[in-house]
Symmetry: C2
Subunit: 542 residues, 2 copies
Amino acid sequence: MRKRKFWGWGYADELLSNEEEQQIDSRIAKTFDLEEIEKLPIPKVEDIDLPQPNIEIPTALKALLSDEKEERLNHTYGKSFPDTARSLLKDFSSPPDLVAFPNTEEELINVMDWCDGVNVAVIPYGGGSSVCGGVESQVGDSYSGVISLDLRNLNKIIEIDRESRSARIQAGILGPNLEANLKKENLTMRHYPQSFEFSTLGGWIATRSGGHYATLYTHIDDFVESTRMVTPSGVLESRRLPGSGAGPSPDRLTIGSEGILGVITEASMRLQDRPTFRASSSVEFSNYKDALNALRVISQSGLFPANCRLLDSNEAVMNGAGDGSKHLLILAFESADHDKTASLKRALEICSDNKGLYEEPNNNKENAHRTGSSGNWRSSFIKAPYFRESFTRRGIIQDTFETSITWERANDFIEEIKDDIAKAIEEISGKPSLVTCRITHSYPDGLAPYFTFSAFARPSTMIDVWREIKLITNEICISKGGTVTHHHAVGRDHRPNGYDEQRPELFKDILTAAKAKVDPNGIMNPGVLIDPENKEIKNWLK
Amino acid sequence: MRKRKFWGWGYADELLSNEEEQQIDSRIAKTFDLEEIEKLPIPKVEDIDLPQPNIEIPTALKALLSDEKEERLNHTYGKSFPDTARSLLKDFSSPPDLVAFPNTEEELINVMDWCDGVNVAVIPYGGGSSVCGGVESQVGDSYSGVISLDLRNLNKIIEIDRESRSARIQAGILGPNLEANLKKENLTMRHYPQSFEFSTLGGWIATRSGGHYATLYTHIDDFVESTRMVTPSGVLESRRLPGSGAGPSPDRLTIGSEGILGVITEASMRLQDRPTFRASSSVEFSNYKDALNALRVISQSGLFPANCRLLDSNEAVMNGAGDGSKHLLILAFESADHDKTASLKRALEICSDNKGLYEEPNNNKENAHRTGSSGNWRSSFIKAPYFRESFTRRGIIQDTFETSITWERANDFIEEIKDDIAKAIEEISGKPSLVTCRITHSYPDGLAPYFTFSAFARPSTMIDVWREIKLITNEICISKGGTVTHHHAVGRDHRPNGYDEQRPELFKDILTAAKAKVDPNGIMNPGVLIDPENKEIKNWLK
């Protein structure tokens, strides 16, 4: 198995080139008017001081549990800014005591039973790509220990039903492995979150992941046909059905439960035929309100573009498109059944009606969506996490937050958030910041804006600066009527000033009661979403 | 207010013509080889013996509660076969003691607070169109009384957001009133269950209603933007958002909760522009497997027809189409934005590939969907409940049940159910029965078959015969892998042999825990979905 970085995103041997590193240096120097840039070295396993495990591996589970140092390092954090920052600063003060690698559901149950019996907290771990503290092992001192439960060996496609276009799949499968196996049957799940390379089916379901596609079927919620979740009180498995009206949907409680009720081990997922017809284009707008209006009308038209993403002028530049004066709408249609030229034409007509200017469309070309402005956008999308961690080495915060809002508030919401956050960052960090926005998902009744910002800090101050900003971004999304997260999940980092305010109080009570029922000892991912009853969790963000 | 029947469907002055009644007589005589047909008279209010209320109206709630005989009769039953049967037989042995008509949410809360304080069960009542025992007041003897909580006065559209195409609406609004008011803004919710005339927004949400449209947005679940529910422990209101990934969806627990957690008082609903482009056709198939295959390919094509309903050959005849040798696929496309001719053409091409024969399409004609075979189908759809109750007067059971299944099982599932139920009915009733099937909803991964059957009985035996059949239809849907209900809800009637087996056991525990939290005294719609803890409910079907 190719080795992954314990301190950041991706594989250990996958680093930016010297040239790319130099580009980052000069960009930072220019942006923040700096003469010298401090840069943290890439840490080595042997440099890290790791506390001894608080618990010993029981003999019966010897084959499934590891206390190996590098595994414990690998499983200490997710991949958020502060995760990489703490890793680079060699702060691994709250690692899991042990890491479990069950090979079957039965083994997984054995591990969980043991944990439940000896008051050991369990942190479900899929690809470890959480950017909101969803896989951390900081659980407070009311547990005798904590394990990270890694699902990497539950990674098979159990069964494909070609006729219904669905498959029963183990939760630990990574995106590329899943798609490679579906491709053999000319099928695809067509769910591409930015974390695709290092995230798992189970993780997507547990966190209500949002895919790369911008309209219609994009949230993992819509792809789930049935789920199977192991809880400390037994297995909760739903029936495989295309649709049902029999009571509240059990799946919809599993989806988004972020490991606090149990571990998702399998799901039946809806698949699609691989698209063969494509049509795409990019449209430039001088005025952001016009662009938003075009996006709204397209989203309400029933045309359902696969890609329909609006980059504001600053994002467009960063993605190698335009001179910073134009906002860029990327449009792409796909189908496995019929030509989409007419749909693209109609969408472009809507853009025209709203003063959009566009290139001649690339119809039906295989890979059309990988060329031109949309192609540029696509490769920066995949590369972004690699770049981000190089900024972190220099103390520079590059981070994102995402939310959603209904159309009637959209323009003001986006403008106000950009302004308010830019001001807040300048106040906190002492240097100006650029906050940019892309609309990643569009709905008939609203949209999901995704904000990117950079903020000046030094390696020694970056975590404190980040923490202050985070509390403000949480607060601003909620106070302005949005959601604290559209597809990154809640984890621990989105709770203070955020999810804890957003979630209806009675729903918290219901979730707490549900958890008390299936996880009576409160061992499952404590501190995520809610606090287990009678166990106070200290959130590190607070 | 126009008076509604207390004993059956629709308005008191809306009865079949003498000619239609005679047609029913001769059809029954022919079908069941009868010489004489016994026929129950339409009951009058004064004919009914009603038990005295067990509770008195408290002075403070005098303006909101009624003990009037006709209101208590009106609220004793829903509109299922046994509901009408018991009404015609003048069996109103378990009426609500009182009926509440709050005019505001505050008044509704006052009523519920009083009930909670004096151990009175609360049966939320929207349009009263339940066909599964969802609004009955038979709650067992552990309550001091029972009220029916009628939401008819909470029937306003509070606010329309034209830009986001959504509206905040009170839950007690009936379908026609809702659509008439939306029409003024050139909007529609485009949700047309068969009960449309006499069912409410709140009822649709509480029961996961399925609309008349056959693909894509059809279940009420998809139209809900946010909900507001009054529980005995307070109000649970979700945030109005186009999409969110912040923990499990609170709305998805409210949706389908069938009144056991609280009363839905308001919801923000997604709306649509009124369609202006239409294209429709009907396709005949000699072979059912071919028809199913065409339906599957269309459902997986991304064309998303608004209507895509497959009537088996017997249903086609009953709906005035064909000679009984052909299965009929009704296809219709609609859009408010763009022409759908090409979509219809492609769908018909798929039908052709599967040996379907079709008329020349009616493109773009306003009301095209109201003419031809599809037009016939539409009027019988609306008239069906009126006819059914005239059969009931003669002891003849005309009933339906609906389920769903994935494509790979579809053909065998449908054939087996038709055969098995026909055999069971013959065994139970002593006379042969015809079981017919239409596919009402199609999904990329499966479909929802809707079965209609008639069974011979006499007025004196009809309830017992129906009960035996019901237990078998529940059981067969579940044992063959389907759902016990696709869009009629669970209520009380779908529990034995059905929902109680289908629902994951741990999910029952979770629902029970949730209910215990928000409804600690178990007053809300006891016996529906689950039994409140410590209160044993005797289901009349058992």
